[in-house]
Symmetry: D2
Subunit: 420 residues, 4 copies
């Protein structure tokens, strides 16, 4: 951690101070960027001086602020600066981004820059270049010759790759806060089961229809409770009507879907009556074995074994399906990626271009997906457990909508509102 361009000066108490000047522009008071910057500097033990401020006279005018940030040592200044950048702070001193070579495959230099899920630019040869593949907790590698930069996972770094370090020459563009009322302006702290959901579901349906009409992509991350609770047919109809372009899930949702189609049960519970079938716990093993015998879900559809259901509709409607394994899986069904690096690679590929993501009743796959989504994607998190919804919806942006509700009844209301 040794940024070299820091200004040193002597503090009143004789201590050497390390300083940087930053600017903030836009709706920085309205969207709380300025107070957050004040907060962060103080929380990290630094201090600031407000060199210039121009506050918009009216709500449609942008504001501007210039601050001098001081810290007592370089690592502290480093921590402050990387934090402020997440709120949109831009360094006044203009330098190119710094890089260091990766010391080994999958290993980073110590001072690596860790990305946010917001659009990011790096300065290469005096020009600001857009970083490709926005995703949180990745690192940035630079191709100087191509004047290109992209975000990659740690494990994908090869020895010698130019990895961005420090905080110079990096610009993060936080989302502008929307002034109009919309359902995605709910923040995590609004998460509650007592709010009216019917209207929210109607607005969501409208947004989904608009997305479909303009050829956008909707990702659905689906937990097995959708099938258990009997809402599988609702989801199948939504897929058939074109409201799902990408589907993420695990071995469970596929298995239970197959079990429901072949045997009319899910985990041995009859979906029509909700009664447990004695001995029905063998049903999911039977379903898995049936698909293993067919070869794959696609072959099961082609052979006529699977004639309806979620997986059937996905295959018939060319939905991009990624099924990721987990350590608790029985079987699994042959389509499930059992290697986690492979599963993540497929998911990263599939999320490209996604406009909206619905995460229904699955914490594991939803968190995995949430980490991969840029801040521009609208996220809807639905779970009956408030802790799960808060975790998923709390992304520090204005694009998330958390609903604490019942997955079955949510899917029914949504299908109804979509007219499917």
């Amino acid at each position: 951690m040794n940024p070299t361009q820091t200004t040193r000066k002597i503090s009143p108490t004789g201590a050497q101070l390390f300083t940087e000047e930053i600017t903030l522009e836009g709706h920085i008071i309205d969207s709380w960027a300025l107070p957050k910057v004040f907060d962060a500097v103080m929380d990290l033990g630094g201090s600031f001086e407000l060199l210039d401020i121009r506050v918009g006279r009216r709500k449609d005018e942008p504001s501007f602020a210039r601050l001098k940030i001081s810290a007592e040592n370089e690592p502290q200044l480093d921590r402050i600066m990387t934090t402020l950048q997440d709120y949109g702070a831009v360094l006044v001193s203009q330098h190119d981004v710094r890089t260091e070579p990766a010391p080994a495959n999958g290993v980073l230099p110590d001072d690596f820059y860790s990305t946010t899920h917001m659009p990011t630019q790096v300065r290469l040869g005096g020009k600001w270049v857009e970083v490709q593949n926005t995703e949180m907790d990745l690192i940035i590698t630079v191709d100087q010759e191509q004047s290109a930069a992209r975000m990659v996972p740690m494990a994908a770094v090869s020895k010698g790759d130019a990895v961005v370090v420090g905080y110079n020459g990096i610009r993060v563009i936080p989302p502008q806060r929307s002034r109009q009322h919309e359902i995605f302006s709910f923040m995590a702290s609004d998460v509650s089961s007592e709010r009216p959901k019917r209207r929210v579901i109607e607005e969501l349906a409208r947004e989904m229809r608009q997305t479909r009409e303009r050829g956008g992509k909707i990702l659905l991350v689906a937990g097995p409770a959708i099938v258990h609770s009997g809402a599988g047919p609702c989801l199948a109809r939504m897929i058939r009507a074109g409201f799902v372009q990408v589907l993420f899930g695990g071995n469970a949702i596929a298995t239970h879907d197959v079990e429901s189609v072949l045997l009319g049960t899910s985990l041995g519970v009859t979906l029509r009556s909700g009664q447990s079938v004695e001995g029905g716990h063998r049903h999911h093993m039977f379903a898995i074995n049936a698909i293993r015998k067919a070869g794959s879900l696609r072959q099961a559809v082609e052979s006529g074994l699977l004639r309806e259901g979620i997986m059937f509709e996905c295959i018939k409607n060319n939905v991009d399906v990624v099924l990721s394994g987990s350590v608790r899986d029985d079987g699994p069904i042959p389509d499930v990626a059992q290697d986690m690096a492979e599963a993540q690679r497929r998911m990263r590929e599939a999320v490209k271009g996604v406009d909206m993501a619905l995460m229904i009743a699955t914490m594991l796959h939803s968190i995995a997906t949430g980490n991969m989504l840029p801040s521009s994607v609208k996220v809807v998190a639905v779970d009956i457990n408030p802790a799960v919804v808060t975790k998923l919806a709390d992304r520090g942006t204005f694009q998330a909508l958390g609903l604490v509700t019942d997955a079955e009844l949510f899917m029914r209301e949504l299908a109804d509102a979509l007219g499917v």
Copy 2:
């Protein structure tokens, strides 16, 4: 605790043993009465000898068992016998019920018998007499002259009343387990948010229609989340269509209903859009004041102030409403019973003849109500918190249905299934 009719004998170890003979009849293996009796005797430190057993050869034949129960002292035998009676055990030695006079108003003799919520008989002058007013955790007073007995709350006992003590001459009739599949056979341990609810809601709607058609009474215990979540109009329509004869709630449901009618919000949240109204936290105070000014909810309806909503429909449709106060109430609305003894008295009066009770999203009023209901009443408990549902549905009978789900969406689906 001094039952006098106990048989004493000397145990093999020389210790004096206290014994009683009991019989069990009916589907005592199938409904697990016999294993439960074995369990209870052992858990309480007693022992048993199986004197006679005749097990039905087929599932439609009743069984019979006669057991000798032994304990090392009288209090132990007393505890065992009062417990076994709850499973339907009947003493072979036939004695009249014993009573002692209450030592003061609202005070019981030490050895008082505490009731279950199951039909109960006492033996008076050699005859078995039905005890009036089945309710849990009450005591039984006897009117020897009238050959009558009834269950009363502790606080309603007057000095000198003949209070049943001990376990002699008491017969409890546990519900017979139904063999046919029905939704009320779900037990508390089945409580889960992952079960299919749509079919259950349809069966519930059918049961409600049948109850209405035969002139039965349906009790709805309503939490304020019904209004917050925007499902108030669903409930109002259900009331108008005759699906609610008795409504229990608190100051909150009435206040939020009035707020929603007069201002379109609930606790300051706009019900149409789910957006918080800044400054809207004053709205519920405004609603309470409006009713206080009108004099009462009825007067607010008659004066034309209230023209729709839950309370409006209750008053227009002669629903028996009991609003019970709580220590957290603002205001309250004048119709709310602020004295808890008075509130319980009104509720006890209103539950008479109730056939079915729906408890939606309110723990306090639901527990209060649940304690008052005899085991013959079918109970549906709905809450998004599984712990609440388990607590309400776990009544030790086969007449409870617990649903872990969203109150708003449940009410919408139910209204839909009822065709209102």
Copy 3:
């Protein structure tokens, strides 16, 4: 709603505009007062012009802002102004507070001002006067002769009382945000069961010791789970050591405490082993009857029936106990206030001078208490249900600490940290 001092002018579109000028002073950016004001004006459909702003150059300098607020009609301006006052906005136009006479006992004029839990002043005869009895959702009555004002509940208003209306001449003083790290700076959104609690409990214990040493008052709002879980003796020791001056609870905590002392069980569960005692559900009825026979908890202590436990220690150590009834109570114990108006009156009396409030595992009594506490009281909310903690800790101030944890183990750790 007819404030008469509003300035009218013609808007660019020809519409008449209603405007007010306000000022904000202090750490208005740092404590997010200014962004909140911007937010509120826009959310309520008004507009603002920033007439003057002086932002502190350093974090220890206060800031100042003057704004012109515009609305399209008077009720809108009224709503905006009453909201902005909650963030500390002060009207530039200086007028005395307005009042209207209450139209009847317990009934308010329509335009009544509803209080916050923050210190509030009203302008009487040109002077700012402190309003007595800070509490949320009350109203303010003025005694012009005495130049005095106080907050009172709606039900306590008598016909003709001078009730504050509108927004003129009212000043609310929001808490200044503390810069130093302290446990009470946790906000509701930090509520999580995964945070380290041991250190927090140690800091809480230190704060409690300091409060005790300077003669401060600690209020404990206690749920029955404290006794069920076996942590009753921990609380009893805390009381004996002087860490509780006021105790709030219901019939349940007292009953279970008595049951645990007299019979060693709570709701029929043996506290030493956690095993259910068959037939033990009668125990709580026995405990209630025992106190009814004694006459009261105090008489039970004096007669030697109660020789230990929470209630015993409260009586021996002159703790101010308020037991409030609820509609689900059995019995109740004679000390329980069954009239809710009376219960609230006793609680309001007892919270006077309280410095810190611990709310443990009881939603009903905690919400009732929370509504009565001024913002200066430090509030600790402990529950295993995150929704309850969020509800209690989310008071819009920096004085609340929410812990999602197990009441039993929390009480043990706290008793340990207090050295009792």
Copy 4:
């Protein structure tokens, strides 16, 4: 599904009936095996005749029953018989177990027998042979030459393997219900946060000490909340003192442990104070990179980078650690198994000989582990979410203990009770 040895006869209505005779022996009333058999037959639409019953006269005498089970078709009888076998029913008609060859690698014959987690025997050449590797939801393969049988996962079956089908020649031995009070007799339905835990923790500690003293194996399945909450050092001390022989977890627990050791934080929250470190979300990436640089956790210990913590103690004390990957992992740390088949293989190897399993605050790994454990292993499930505890503790045996509590405070109390 074509069992060939079924007796056919003509029913009274002229329909052909398929029947089997079974026997039940042991504490079949007391442990509810007999009522469960009655239940299951009726729930599955069959009927039974009780041919013989001998009920033990005293609680220490075993009982015996012989039943004729009838069904209307073979698949129904098949379903009934496989269900009854799980309750210990033994066929009177003695046949060898039937097998069919697996049609392909990892594919089973349709009528495969799916295992329980109870000890199981199969009849080979007229002799009852113990099936190796007890685990739920596996299948049984037979080696006729070796007169051996073992349970294997579906994916491990090779084409041509002799897979057990149907229900003939299979004997399941359900656990005998313990009469003495012990903590593991708590069943899932007892799961509650309100029960006293201190005594239960003390008994658990005693049991763990006994297990250690007799050289038994204790498995700990550890969720990351143990580190987040600051209880990592408690676990480290338990490992050092020999109370953990096998540790299961994921990338998260290892990462957070390393982060806590190297940086003093967990997910950027300072473990000493519970305060969030601004910018601390990069810390876990730093920790992962540090171990990737070192090569592995073991190399990090050997190089002196890791000098304390959970992973350090595991490596120093030869604890068998299996870290299983998941699709949400960052990094991961090199020791994490990213292939799920490999992870399960390692876990299956490591659970061999385990006597007790503690599952703390991790649903994914706990369910994965629970599926692998035979019914003889004592299982303790700890989580703050009641739904998780119910799911884990509800194993249909008398060997599970569920605690709804706070992982941090549980670990502290347990470490305290263990004297570490």
